[in-house]
Amino acid sequence: MVHQVLFIVFGLICVAGAINLLLQRHPINSALSLVVVMASLALIYLLLGAEFVAAIQVIVYAGAIMVLFVFVIMLLNAGEEERTRGSRVALILGVPGVIILAATVGWLLVTGSGQLGSVTIASSDFGETHAIARLLFKDFLLPFEITSVLILIAIMGAVVLGKRES
């Protein structure tokens, strides 16, 4: 019961944040809406027993990636969004397509809900850092190392791209 209430509360905050992201015309408001979405997602992760993921969601997403966004917005002094005619394809084809997609998936999930069953926190040590660390450094060691190389390359790429050409 408590779980359901908490889920509904945070889920609604999430959706509201996401909608606000769309509605706001100023990028910094959108960015803050996204931070809200991410923070409440972190809380939903906690409801799912994923405490480590929740923590790094806050640290990495809200604390690092979104700060970077805010930073860039501040740096470029991005103003209100312009109203341009833009893409007809996106409006005529894209939006209905996505709506149909969402409707289909939603209908499937609603009708299939009974078969799926529900989610609960099975044991207190589920999602603990120890277990994830063991997975990361044993079973997924190679992908882990590769992603570290990836992020190193990304850093170098960002430095090169961001450098002002002399």
């Binding site: 889920f7 997403y61 996106a90 069953g117 099975a122 002002r164």
Partner: protein, 113 residues
């Protein structure tokens, strides 16, 4: 006891909102944020399924293998990729802004025949 489908519906709603953001917003930074929103939506379903399979191993199709908590690990990887993407993407946005003095994607449309 929250039904799994609630999480999935939330995930789908967030994802579709991200797609809408991509389709409708003009500011390139906001579009980029929409992508992050979509990634987060996917992460949510990863985490939800990780929890789900932890308790519903009986529902696995026969012969299928399940590493417990692998959903969490995937989220970890998605975050790493998202971080890398944010670094490079924002650097690209900065250099685009430098050369074209705009953040409106409708004005950055030279990549065509």
């Amino acid at each position: 006891m929250v039904p799994l489908s609630w999480y999935l519906i939330l995930s789908a709603v967030l994802f579709c909102l991200g797609v809408f953001g991509f389709l409708l917003k003009r500011n390139i930074i906001t579009i980029f944020m929409s992508i992050e929103l979509m990634l987060n939506a996917v992460n949510l379903s990863f985490v939800a399924f990780a929890n789900y399979w932890n308790t519903h191993l009986d529902k696995l199709p026969s012969g299928a293998q399940m590493v417990p908590l692998s959903g969490h690990v995937f989220v970890f990887f998605v975050m790493v990729v998202a971080a890398a993407e944010a670094a490079v993407g924002l650097a690209i946005i900065i250099s685009v802004f430098r050369t074209r003095e705009t953040l409106n994607v409708d004005r950055v449309n030279l990549l065509k025949l």
